[in-house]
Amino acid sequence: MTLSTGRSLGLLVCMQCHATVRALQVPHPRCPRCDAHLFQRKPHSLALTAALLVCAAVLYVPANLLPVMHTRTIFDDEKDTIMSGVLVLLHSGSWPIAVLVFIASIVVPLLKIIALSVVLFSAWRRSPRYRTQRSELFRMVEFIGRWSMLDVYAISLLVALVQIRSLAYVAVGWGALAFAAVVVLTLFAARTFDERLLWEPPP
């Protein structure tokens, strides 16, 4: 049984307002309802997503190794990476928060990079198996991706608050920038990926 798709019927979907539109043979078609540009598929989707994903994967290393925060007090100068921040929370007795930060900052970005790679690879291969699961995996990645920003916000508040010059001083480390870049790059990677490529007929 062959299923009718938008492509086979000559229909386009507007990515902004989700209107179904008859495809017109003009150079740059626009949605008659909201004026957004219409595409059969997002342009250069696989290449763009792959490029953003590689950048994110490379930056994941400094994001975890470089300190995200320096705490200077009169007694010592402490450098915290994401992981040591989790350990500090664990030792201070608030393990639910420690688990939360661990999942949001370490597990989620890693899973996101892996999941997007899997989805990207199967779209490129036009693999016919587990399509529904891959589609749902992609939508889950889109949904949870934003939660990785958690630690960036926590650090920004600590920086704003702990500025008692002579006593304690918190400075942002370069790890925080790498970390935020990973989050933003994976968010863009998910946005440039066209889910419909998971459903193309096998070559």
Binding site: L9, H18, A36, G85, I97, Y153, A154, V159, I164, L167
Partner: protein, 200 residues
């Protein structure tokens, strides 16, 4: 017979003559296709006004304050971005500012701008441009993530000093809930249903 094409997998579906009475999903990829009518335009405008007030409160008052050795220090929402900017992390500051201040504000302002004329069966000038701006801004509003981040910062600080939650922390939590309710009631599908009804 009207046809709806799934934006997630390109499968064509036949749509009934009536608007869907319950949420429908794509037969192939299970993405949500149509959402039922969800509240009136008045509810959406009321929620937008509540969100605007909460947004202003969240920016006018401090989120948290710490006391140590007799001195007090408070941080506001903008202060969080400003602290990063002062330490020459302009990129990070911009990211925090856009996702916690600019994003929510643009979302609320755009909705009010679009919905108030629509209620009187009129269309706001540049309606389609503003709608597309709204669709672009929406994924970059991270108020709920910021709230959890603030909680993490509070827990870390509570180990060293006395921490006092400010008014903005509570208004921010309410803003988070209001924005969630608002977003679910002003989906693109719902918005264009209102537009089409205003034409009739």
């Amino acid at each position: 017979m009207p046809v709806i094409v799934c934006p997630s997998c390109d499968l064509a579906h036949r749509a009934g003559p009536e608007p869907a009475s319950e949420r429908t999903r794509c037969a192939r990829c299970l993405a949500s296709l149509q959402r039922p009518e969800n509240g009136s335009i008045d509810t959406a405008i009321a929620l937008s006004i509540v969100a605007l007030v909460l947004f202003l409160l969240s920016n006018a008052y401090p989120l948290v304050a710490i006391y140590s050795n007799g001195s007090t220090r408070a941080a506001t929402l903008i202060g969080a971005a400003l602290g990063l900017y002062r330490q020459d992390h302009t990129g990070l500051a911009a990211l925090v500012f856009i996702t916690t201040v600019v994003g929510p504000f643009l979302q609320i302002a755009a909705l009010l701008y679009l919905l108030i004329p629509l209620r009187r069966k009129r269309r706001a000038p540049g309606q389609n441009t503003v709608f597309r701006l709204l669709a672009q801004v929406r994924p970059w509003t991270f108020v709920e993530v910021f709230m959890l981040g603030a909680l993490v910062a509070l827990v870390r600080l509570a180990a060293f000093t006395q921490v006092v939650p400010g008014i903005a922390l509570w208004s921010c939590a309410l803003l988070m809930l209001t924005l969630a309710a608002l977003t679910s009631r002003t989906s693109p599908g719902q918005f264009w249903r209102w537009v089409e009804r205003s034409r009739a």
